[in-house]
């Protein structure tokens, strides 16, 4: 048994090493060939992954802006938004490629501090986007003002429930900046605008639709008189919608965050009252723009807000809104 364990460990280590080597060698190529091809500037973008199409929209904004500026970008992210360590490895690999700038959307505000120090030491301009980081390494942070955006959701929630009753909240996680800000922004918004409502203890569903649905169902069961429910990202919000559908619950004001086909359908069907969306395309574009400015030694603001919109049945088709909503 002991022998097997040792063998297994050696094999795991070997697999991990070869995988890392394979990753870094395969991803190193575009960077080096990019800078070789006529000195085109190269920006390595590390996002939070593919779990939400939000990131596809950010990528679109980044790609469009990169084409406009004539720079080269690569866009990577871990398979799920809980893989902090995998993301860190991607960031380390990106540093190894010596890009002209790095854009980074941290899954965890603190976990990357070592790598960020390294970026600073190597004088690579760093643009944080989506979530800020607890570090002075980024020249700027391009982000949705999540506190204000969640406050907007709270304002609408208050109107919908008539400033009274219980409201449930499901957030995607406890550690990311968006999770913390949307939770705190919503709670503060409710406290300020809606003093007569009771916000139930916040629960966390890891952005997993099935898990969030199970949690929402438990909360609705435990509080049959619940009046409203806020889901702080796409996975959480869709989970709440599933819960409402599976319980055939009526008269519940559901407010979501971000978009995606399931949320849009729920709004059309009247199950969801509305949602706050960020502007992912604008975020991608602003991130690349800030990185290009930093490469060209132009000064950039310490904070760049990429905006948000409230959308519901009435304005979903509005071209300005429709452009930032994704399926």
């Amino acid at each position: 048994m002991r022998q097997f364990t040792t063998k297994a460990l050696v094999l795991v280590a070997a697999t991990a090493l070869s995988l890392t080597a394979a990753c870094s060698s395969s991803t190193a190529t575009p960077g080096s060939s990019g800078s070789a091809a006529g000195g085109q500037k190269y920006i390595a973008i590390i996002s939070k992954g593919f779990q939400h199409q939000f990131w596809q929209a950010v990528k679109k904004g980044a790609d469009d802006e990169a084409a406009k500026e004539g720079v080269k970008v690569t866009f990577e992210g871990p398979a799920s938004e809980s893989e902090v360590e995998a993301q860190l490895t991607m960031l380390e690999n990106a540093i190894a490629k010596k890009p002209d700038a790095i854009a980074f959307a941290a899954l965890d505000t603190k976990a990357a501090s070592g790598a960020l120090d390294k970026i600073k030491a190597q004088n690579i301009p760093l643009v944080a986007f989506d979530s800020g980081v607890d570090s002075d390494a980024p020249l700027t942070t391009v982000a949705t003002d999540n506190i204000a955006a969640a406050g907007e959701a709270a304002k609408h929630m208050c109107q919908l429930i008539g400033n009274a009753g219980k409201v449930g909240v499901i957030v995607h996680d406890q550690t990311s900046r968006t999770g913390i800000d949307r939770r705190d922004g919503f709670l503060k918004g409710m406290k300020d605008t809606c003093p007569n409502a009771t916000v139930l203890p916040v629960q966390y569903g890891a952005g997993d639709q099935a898990k969030s649905a199970d949690i929402a169902k438990s909360i609705i069961q435990a509080n049959p008189d619940i009046k409203g429910f806020f889901g702080a990202n796409e996975g959480s919000a869709v989970g709440v919608v599933k819960a409402v559908q599976e319980l055939n619950k009526t008269g519940l004001a559901v407010i979501g965050f971000d978009s995606g086909k399931a949320q849009k359908d729920a709004i059309t069907a009247g199950i969801m009252s509305g949602a706050v969306t960020q502007d992912p395309i604008g975020m991608g574009a602003a991130t690349v723009k800030a990185a290009v400015d930093a490469i060209n030694k132009k000064s950039v603001d310490k904070k760049i807000s990429s905006g948000y919109y409230w959308f519901d049945k009435t304005n979903m088709a509005d071209p300005k809104i429709a452009a930032v909503l994704y399926d």
């Binding site: 199409q53 596809q56 809980s82 139930l200 199970d214 599976e246």
Partner: protein, 336 residues
């Protein structure tokens, strides 16, 4: 029974007692787990009498146990051989994506598409089994590699986007629809129950189950007694894969969409359910009934703690402690 007894009544009682006590010895762990399940249920029922023990909530508990439950059925078969399957979580996501590819993209009728998704799960298991039995890879490594392959392929095949079952309205009914009209009893629970019975029959009444247990207790002796161990290992992993496929169908039916990035971490809950149910990670010993109870214990704990509003961080701590206690109880029983 062989000795003459004064009266028929006493002999019957004695027989029942003898049978009961041997069954008790055989399945003390299941009984412990079952008692645990009942105990935990009663605690929550007392803590939240108005909500927790209601029909709707019990249905919800069963419903939320379906996906982990299905995964753990297959995991039981593999763990009894002394192996482990880390690929069931992301394998499930890949099967969900394949189901969507078959039904949504290729317009294959729902029923046929579902069967193909199950078979795809079987194929994943088949590859695992081949790697373990013929290439002699440790199960941990073979299925770890498959876990990564499946998680990547799910994103590749789906082009990193969720695939929605809009045009196939029947698909969602597999999970949330109700076969019995007018009664709130989701089909997912019925499908889980049928799958659980099939798994129980497989383990207890078929050659597959007998060889599964034999391989797990002593692989050399099993081979020496003329059993083609390698062939049966492949079959066991492949059959386990069918349950992964079914879990993929059920989670995508519930969500009305195949979510390519979900699934990671589900394998650990499935293994936890198996272990709580008293199946030995060393192999050779295990029961489907125990695994079902294990899945239900996890579902009851999650649901109950959420209903009484325990902070989420503590929910994980409590679940972890329950797993420790279950394994400790099992080892204690084996030692004495």
């Amino acid at each position: 029974m062989t000795q003459p007894t004064p009266s028929v009544a006493t002999s019957t009682v004695a027989a029942v007692e003898a049978g009961a006590s041997s069954m008790l010895r055989r399945s003390l762990q299941q009984l412990l787990a079952f008692a645990g399940l009942i105990g935990i249920f009663i605690v929550f029922a007392i803590a939240s009498p108005a909500v927790f023990p209601t029909y709707t909530n019990v249905i919800q508990i069963l419903f939320s146990a379906v996906v982990i439950g299905l995964l753990s059925l297959g995991a039981t078969l593999v763990i009894i051989t002394g192996g482990i399957d880390l690929s069931v979580g992301t394998g499930m996501a890949l099967c969900a994506v394949m189901s969507a590819t078959f039904i949504v993209d290729w317009h294959i009728p729902v029923l046929l598409g579902v069967i193909m998704a199950l078979l795809f799960g079987g194929l994943i298991g088949l590859v695992n089994g081949f790697n373990v039995a013929f290439l002699k890879l440790p199960p941990f490594i073979a299925t770890l590699a498959m876990m990564m392959v499946a998680s990547g392929l799910a994103l590749v095949v789906s082009n990193k986007r969720p695939i929605y079952f809009d045009q196939s309205s029947g698909y969602a009914h597999l999970s949330t629809g109700s076969l019995i009209p007018g009664v709130e009893f989701p089909n997912a629970i019925i499908i889980y129950a049928v799958a659980a019975i099939v798994a129980g029959v497989l383990l207890n009444k078929t050659l597959l189950g007998r060889y599964d247990l034999a391989i797990g207790s002593n692989v050399e002796a099993t081979a020496l007694s003329g059993v083609n161990v390698r062939k049966w290992m492949v079959i066991i992993y492949a059959v386990a894969g069918l349950f992964t496929g079914l879990a993929g169908v059920m989670i995508s039916a519930r969500l009305g969409s195949a979510q390519p990035a979900t699934g990671a971490g589900y394998e650990l809950y499935a293994i936890a359910a198996v272990v709580i149910g008293g199946t030995s990670l060393a192999g050779g010993r295990g029961s489907m009934l125990g695994t079902i109870i294990g899945s239900l214990i996890i579902a009851v704990i999650n649901n109950g703690l959420q209903i009484i509003s325990v902070p989420q961080e503590w929910q994980n701590v409590i679940l972890g402690v329950v797993i420790l206690l279950a394994v400790f109880a099992d080892q204690f029983r084996t030692r004495t």
